[in-house]
């Protein structure tokens, strides 16, 4: 907040400086439109920011000055010298106040009144006006401009700086303003330096440099890395900073206006160029004010319109390709097109005939025209129709676009899209064959392996669908979209659940996700943008250029349905739920092998799979399914199986069961509480779904049944974390490690004790610094125990190794 305040002061003073040059020109020709607009905008911005920062005194001054200027704009008032003087006096007072923020000594508020009187006074009282603000304290130094009193001009600044050196200094951190071009140059210089460092590091590794040379290089390298982080930070800020003042503003405004609204802020972690944030603060403030003032109705009106009493205001920021999108949506009354058109006709923008031929979008866009507003009356909050043209000017100045969607009676959504040049974003590096691409992490909802228990992939009529935890998504493979060859890989592919700015989430299949990096994104050249799937390019530390994927573009090229059809229904659904106040769970409806439809809570279903008949074995009255080298108890087997029975893999902690069924039918929402509790056998009770009642399985009894049969609990032992010290040893890596994993242990590699291992395994050749009391197990190559270390074990003595691991860990415990 202090930072924003500091910036407000700096900005206000800067604008004042810029405007001071115009003052004389304006006095000479007060009717000049563009200058009048400039002053008007200044007051309006101050008014807006002050509401945002809760500075009522500034707000009052600015509001009155704005009002006077507005009446001049409309021709209701003549800009005579007295008015001009009074407006300038207010301007200077704002400057003086801004300088005095954070200092102990303040201009008494009562002194504002004469200024305001002078504003509203007609020319008769003018001469009094002069005298009224003459005896101001020296701090209002800029007043000297009007008073033309040279002695004050000289003394005041000195006075000011003296005070700054005293009490004011601790208050505000010292800052300077730098041209962004300089920071850009710094940034480029650092990037070059990092690449040079990486190159040097590679060469040093190749030539195996002397250790002392290496250590000083390490130091240099760390410095370069720090430096780069610092330089990057000079430009980037989280959108949170934009959001900081909104909740307070919404609270105050709703109270002033007698309205109710909830605020939903999302995407605060998106990072934006500092300059962009500065440019977006004002527009955002204006839009939020407008939404509260004009968009959201009073509680009484809302109830009359059949809406919830409390309005909803959403501010969402996200990165979309090479743009940052900030959306401000309300569920208020929407924009009244007829009123806008009428105003436009009154203002002489269109003739009535022309206006009739305007499209809906054109009518909406009238809101961005200077001087047009739909507000019936002018309030101190908004409604002078200056907001939106200023907003658009600000956004377009930074190369952004502003759009508006409004449904009469349903609400308005304003979308600001600002470019993301030189933005640093966290990205995931994905691999497809020899190609590497970056995907903005903001677009990635979730990463899964294709063979994950939570994913079911099916192909229906040519469309591929991935069902993840009951939610269906379109599935496309990156290679198919980009028309590149798919590399043969052994492991499972990775699925990324992608949420783009437009349309529904979809699933993108990639060969692998390699790493997670902070990327400096630069715009790609038009020849590359024409492909439609790239949002920019980046140069990671390895010096190989990489392209940034555009999540929305990929969906478009893959011809995925983009229209968000669920939007409205999703908004209404929670309300309906809230009314009923029924807690629901997701349940899987399936057909038992006897043809009966039953339900099972989806939470316990790990996956649905087809088993081969020979995977199922019966052993001593209990059936097992062999799945990936493990035996999982199976229920509902019918002696010797034929074909490929479908199975629900159920899980509860470490335990798994295969529950054989005929087929899966659907996933539905059911009440969490069964309607008729039975608690006999495998059934929990009956559940009403629509017109039919279904039996709900009690998964607990299934697991109890299996455990009871087995006599001993399955897999309750904690896995042991094994660290293999010499990762380069092929035997350790390819023979021992899989063995340990198969035995249910966790295996990691490396020399350092990362992740606090329970035991360290090593070959005789590899020395290990014993860390703490972690036991070290030495494996020898010779069968005979003649080797130096007495506690070494022959590496093919599997039973001995396993026992030693278990024992060593027990000793520690």
């Amino acid at each position: 907040m202090d930072e924003i305040l500091g910036e407000f002061i700096a900005e206000t003073l800067e604008t004042l400086d810029a405007l001071s040059g115009e003052v004389v020109a304006w006095e000479a020709d007060p009717a000049e439109k563009s200058r009048l607009d400039a002053f008007f905008r200044f007051f309006h911005t101050v008014k807006g920011s002050c509401g945002f920062l809760n500075l009522p005194r500034f707000e009052k001054l600015a509001h009155h000055a704005e009002e006077v200027l507005a009446s001049i704009r409309q021709g209701d008032r003549v800009p005579d010298p007295a008015t001009v003087t009074a407006v300038l006096a207010v301007m200077d007072r704002i400057g003086a106040l801004a300088r005095s923020i954070g200092e102990d000594e303040q201009i008494p508020e009562s002194e504002d009144d004469p200024l305001l009187d002078a504003l509203t006074a007609n020319s008769k009282i003018l001469s009094d006006g002069f005298e009224i603000f003459e005896p101001l304290p020296a701090k209002a130094a800029p007043l000297a401009i009007i008073e033309d009193d040279e002695s004050k001009v000289e003394t005041a600044p000195a006075d000011q700086s003296a005070r700054n050196n005293g009490s004011g200094r601790e208050r505000a951190p010292r800052t300077i303003r730098l041209p962004l071009a300089l920071i850009d140059q710094l940034m480029n210089g650092i990037s070059d330096m990092v690449l040079a460092r990486n190159d040097l590091a590679r060469r040093m590794r190749e030539s195996s440099a002397a250790p002392d040379l290496e250590s000083s290089f390490e130091r240099l390298s760390a410095n370069v890395a720090d430096l780069r982080d610092m330089i990057s930070k000079t430009r980037m800020q989280r959108v949170d900073r934009l959001y900081a003042a909104i909740p307070r503003m919404v609270r105050d405004l709703t109270r002033d206006l007698g309205k109710k609204a909830t605020l939903d802020l999302d995407g605060g972690d998106v990072e934006m160029d500092r300059e962009m944030i500065e440019m977006v603060v004002d527009p955002l403030t204006h839009i939020v004010r407008n939404a509260l003032d004009h968009g959201i109705e009073t509680p009484a009106e809302r109830i009359a319109a059949g809406k919830p009493e409390t309005g909803e205001l959403r501010v969402v920021a996200r990165q979309s390709g090479n743009q940052i999108v900030i959306e401000i949506g309300d569920d208020g009354r929407g924009i009244n097109r007829a009123a806008l058109v009428e105003k436009a006709i009154t203002a002489g923008l269109y003739s009535a005939v022309d206006a009739a031929s305007l499209t809906d979008a054109e009518k909406l866009n009238l809101i961005f025209h200077p001087g047009l507003t739909t507000a019936a009356k002018v309030t101190s909050i908004s409604g002078r129709g200056v907001g939106m043209d200023v907003v658009r000017a600000n956004i377009e100045q930074i190369g952004g676009v502003i759009g508006i969607i409004s449904d009469q009676g349903l609400g308005t959504t304003i979308t600001m899209r600002v470019p993301l040049t030189l933005t640093i974003i966290p990205g995931l590096i994905v691999r497809s064959g020899d190609h590497f691409f970056a995907m903005p992490r903001g677009n990635v909802v979730e990463l899964l392996h294709q063979n994950s228990a939570m994913v079911a992939i099916e192909e229906v009529g040519g469309a591929r669908i991935a069902t993840i935890r009951g939610e269906r998504h379109a599935l496309v493979d990156l290679e198919d979209v980009l028309k590149i060859e798919r590399a043969e890989i052994t492991g499972p592919r990775t699925l990324m659940v992608i949420r783009s700015s437009v349309g529904q989430p979809y699933v993108l299949g990639v060969q692998a996700v390699e790493s997670n990096e902070e990327l400096v994104i630069r715009p790609a050249s038009p020849a590359i943008n024409s492909a439609g799937v790239f949002a920019g390019m980046t140069l990671p530390d390895n010096g190989q250029p990489m392209l940034l994927l555009d999540a929305a573009g990929l969906a478009q090229v893959a011809r995925l349905p983009l229209r968000e059809t669920e939007g409205r229904s999703r908004q209404t659904a929670p309300q309906a739920e809230a009314v009923q106040r029924v807690e629901t769970i997701q349940a899987l409806m399936y057909r038992e092998r006897d043809g009966k439809h039953r339900l099972i809570p989806l939470a316990v279903v790990d996956r649905v799979e087809d088993l081969a008949a020979d995977q199922i074995t019966t052993c001593d009255g209990l059936a097992f399914a062999r799945i990936e080298h493990r035996l999982v108890p199976a229920l509902n087997t019918q002696g010797s199986e034929a074909d490929t029975p479908k199975s629900l893999r159920l899980h509860a902690g470490q335990d798994q069961i295969c529950y054989l069924i005929d087929d899966v039918i659907d996933i539905i929402e059911v009440p969490a509480k069964v309607d008729a509790a039975l608690a006999t056998g495998r059934l929990a009770g009956l559940v009403m779904v629509g017109e039919t009642q279904y039996e709900m399985i009690d998964p607990f009894t299934l697991f109890a049944e299996v455990t009871q049969h087995r006599g001993e609990p399955m897999g309750t032992t904690q896995p042991i974390r094994c660290l293999i010290a010499d990762e380069s040893d092929p035997w350790m890596r390819s023979i021992l490690a899989p063995l340990l994993v198969q035995a249910g242990h966790e295996v990691s590699f490396g020399t350092a004790a990362t992740g606090s291992p329970d035991i360290i395994l090593r070959t005789e050749a590899h020395a290990v610094h014993a860390t703490g009391d972690v036991p070290v197990l030495t494996l020898r190559e010779d069968a005979a125990s003649t080797a130096a270390t007495p506690d070494s074990i022959y590496r093919y003595d599997r039973a001995e190794i396993m026992a030693a691991i278990a024992q060593a860990v027990r000793r520690v415990a």
């Binding site: 690449l195 050249s525 020849a527 492909a531």
Partner: protein
């Protein structure tokens, strides 16, 4: 009047000239990262220190197809409309002034070259086609004869 400098090079066996004011440097490119879904003349991306160049294969642009097997390409580096490009050429012979300036094209040139060649520049008694690098960046079809 100072004489304009020209870079003399060759593409597909044809001698060409480019105004030296258009270009920034001539470099031998390292690895080129290929880009899917783009037109054939966009060879890929190459790093030049901390800059990323979009590599344009001039031959492929002119004739519609090019040889992709070559590596360590020679490229003319230039900034066009705030983006950095590398324009692949077969060889570079010299940068020097052309005392006789730009002359109109005599004879009928190959239609493939026609959209790009805007004149002739003479060096050591041989004629070179004058090209403008910006023409190779614009979308095909929109390329116009440089005045």
């Amino acid at each position: 009047m100072t004489e304009a400098l020209f870079l003399f090079a060759s593409i597909a066996g044809t001698p060409i000239a480019v105004r030296a004011s258009e270009i920034e440097a001539v470099v031998r490119l390292g690895d080129i990262v290929e880009i899917p879904l783009v037109q054939a003349h966009v060879r890929g991306l190459a790093a030049l220190r901390s800059r990323v160049l979009t590599v344009i294969d001039m031959e492929a642009r002119i004739f519609g197809k090019g040889d992709r097997s070559q590596t360590r390409l020679l490229a003319v580096v230039a900034d066009v409309a705030a983006h950095s490009y590398g324009f692949v050429v077969d060889s570079v012979s010299d940068i020097c002034a052309a005392p006789q300036g730009v002359q109109p094209i005599r004879g009928r040139i190959d239609p493939a070259w026609a959209p790009y060649a805007s004149g002739l520049v003479e060096r050591e008694g041989h004629s070179h086609l004058l090209l403008s690098l910006a023409d190779f960046v614009a979308a095909p079809g929109s390329a116009t004869l440089a005045a």
